[in-house]
Symmetry: C2
Subunit: 119 residues, 2 copies
């Protein structure tokens, strides 16, 4: 058992920190720590996989190329980012660690459907 | 954009609340709200899919059939539950809402491997 708050490295203004929490075929769960970083000017992520993100700690502004205004994310907010939907991180809260949970998922696999189940 | 804290129904002592946040082939992201519930006596979950859970709010005790002692989960703790690993929820904190994020994933699909990527 691990904690998503565990082992936060000392903040540096230079690099975001990526930690893989789970990797399975077609699925990758990742923790991302930001400390005031944003995407480089003019840079857009354009990813072949889908990505579902949940803000665990801190605050951020997530911008989509097809939207005029960035979305302000607070703790608990989640967004699904479709494959190849261009996006960037305009801002993360300075002076504190922002924690993202990112679920990267393949949309190209011929995966079986789920049965309805609980738990 | 939605919040994992949104629209928490008034607590009742009788039922857990399940909300599907995302469904894709081989992947289902779910929010589970517990208010003091535990699994019925003698009941074990035995699921064909893998399940990765993260405790978002509250506290819980998660018991595996192959472990003598339940694991006490606090906010931020996560656990991967392999397919068919029998488990049950021994306890959730009474008088408050415990929020689980559950990532249900298929392990039977012939899904493509991920390339290393960021975001």
């Amino acid at each position: 058992m691990d904690s998503i708050f565990a082992a936060q490295p000392r903040s540096t203004a230079t690099d975001e920190q990526f930690s893989e929490l789970l990797k399975r075929p077609g699925l990758r769960i990742e923790r991302i720590l930001s400390t005031g970083q944003s995407s480089p000017a003019g840079f857009w992520y354009d990813q072949p996989e889908g990505e579902w993100v949940l803000l665990i700690q801190g605050a951020a502004r997530l911008r989509f190329a097809d939207e005029a205004v960035a979305r302000h994310l607070q703790v608990g907010d989640y967004v699904d980012i479709a494959p190849h939907r261009r996006h960037r991180v305009d801002w993360t809260a300075p002076g504190q660690q922002t924690i993202w949970l990112a679920i990267h998922y393949s949309t190209t696999a011929a995966a079986p459907s789920f049965r309805t189940s609980t738990s």
